[in-house]
């Protein structure tokens, strides 16, 4: 079908520069613009729309590397990995991985970690939390059921462990944040664990202590109450208290998780 052929050729030209001439064969030359220049207008437009979008997703990375570097890298990313779904909000998840392969960033991989944080924020905005459990129901469970309990963070929760202080770097680039750290005083060697999650129309982003991070990570990996008691011993009541107060834990399940291999006892 000719329409199919035409559309394949034109969309290829949007994401592959060397296909411009091929697509131009379908197009009339008019006035002062050649057919190739006319296809080029669309290539620029499609790239421009996606670049604007990536800039809005990764505003801190944009500031960190500057508009020229960001633009060039984004343009080659768009050509390498064009969108494949009609939902724009799904696009750009691979951008951090793409940055991590960039030769100029090999000494600055902390920028890649900041990109991962910015994507985690975007993902949290677009994820719907599960219904919160009524924790007062826990009292009614038998001892066996209590040992088999599993807990869940809000579905929007993103746990990040970085070799660099991604939360501080991010904060330092927020104009509206009053007590932000001074960017040039940040120690890049400081590792940070960060939790991001959404509550209704609000996004929470906070650093975690190593203990809290290990605890939430175990919960996220669907450890049972018995596993948690084993791992965290008498720290556990305190870890739970903090997590509950901060709304880091939203729900629990009593049925065994069938996706995990069952233990031999």
């Amino acid at each position: 079908m000719p329409l199919l052929e035409l559309q394949h050729s034109l969309i290829a030209a949007l994401f592959q520069r060397d296909q411009l001439a091929e697509a131009a064969k379908f197009v009339k030359a008019q006035g002062s613009l050649s057919s190739e220049q006319r296809v080029g207008i669309y290539r620029n437009s499609a790239h421009g729309i996606l670049l604007d979008y990536l800039e809005s997703l990764y505003p801190v990375c944009l500031e960190l590397v500057g508009t020229e570097f960001f633009g060039r890298t984004a343009h080659s990313f768009i050509d390498q990995m064009p969108p494949t779904r009609p939902f724009l909000a799904d696009y750009g998840a691979d951008f951090a991985a793409y940055l991590s392969a960039h030769p100029a960033l090999q000494e600055m991989l902390w920028i890649v970690e900041v990109a991962k944080l910015e994507w985690a924020r975007h993902a949290a905005w677009h994820t719907v939390n599960q219904v919160a459990s009524d924790f007062t129901q826990l009292e009614t469970l038998s001892a066996e059921q209590q040992a088999e309990l599993r807990f869940q963070l809000p579905a929007s929760a993103q746990l990040l462990s970085a070799h660099s202080p991604i939360h501080s770097i991010w904060l330092a680039h927020q104009d509206e944040y009053p007590d932000k750290p001074q960017f040039d005083e940040i120690d890049l060697e400081e590792a940070q664990q960060v939790l991001i999650f959404r509550e209704q129309r609000r996004l929470h982003q906070t650093t975690l202590s190593p203990d809290d991070w290990a605890f939430l990570n175990a919960v996220q990996n669907q450890a049972t109450m018995a596993d948690l008691a084993e791992q965290f011993a008498d720290q556990l009541p305190w870890l739970f208290s903090v997590a509950m107060q901060e709304n880091w834990i939203y729900s629990f399940t009593t049925t065994p998780d069938e996706t995990k291999p069952t233990r031999n006892s």
Binding site: L6, Q7, L10, S32, L33, R38, I41, A46, P82, R85
Partner: protein
Amino acid sequence: MTPNPILGCGIGLRFQHIDQILADKPPIPWLEILSDNYLTPGSVQQDYAIEVAEYYPVTLHGVGMSLGATEPFNDEYFQRLKSLADQVRPAWISDHLCWTAAHGWVSHDLLPLPYTEETIKHVVQRIREAQDRLERRLVIENVSSYLQYQESYLSEWEFLSAVAEEADCKLLLDVNNIYVSAFNHDFDPCKYLDSIPIERVQQFHLAGYEDKGTHLLDTHGQPVSDPVWGLYKLALQRFGALPTLIEWDNNIPSLEELLAEAHKATEAHIHAFA
């Protein structure tokens, strides 16, 4: 419950303005929600859209249906759009007479079709299918374009009119897009207007273009230009004072400035027949 009627001159809902709109509830005749930015079920975005729709009549306007494409429709897109529509109860749903997907890729940019009898048949069948899926009549918008295909032999107005008649859909005439394409392809925009069947037109769009010297670009980044206001007046005289919407997507101004632009369209409604 039937949706509130869409009357007068509204504005496209943009995130920058949502908090202010929900807090102050300024008098706005109606709002157009860009469906593609609200398609995640249960997301904050959708939550906001639902709240806005509680206070204002709304329409849904999309860019991702890809009515002119040759690959099958994206089922998930239609499911999500339908679910959004169930929640905000738009007076109607519109999308563009164009294609955005091919070869497994999505352009997120509105790409023109070749204007031939064969394309008409194809698009008509696609619009009918989309209308069946959404269980409602669609409103189809003409796009700005920067190229014409070798194989095109129909004018855009012939193509658009034939598609509307055969698919039995409504039309959203973007007056700025007509002007932009008329400049880019050197045709008479008045002739375009005069050829469109009057009873098919449901709504107008107005926006600002950018003059690139060799061509006009539909950037939605500035006020509506004077020649487009002139063409709009002619459109009002031919089609009547139909609902009109201001689109602004780049260098988005304050809500007050945007509403002032909509007010200019209201003024045009009043003076068009004077």
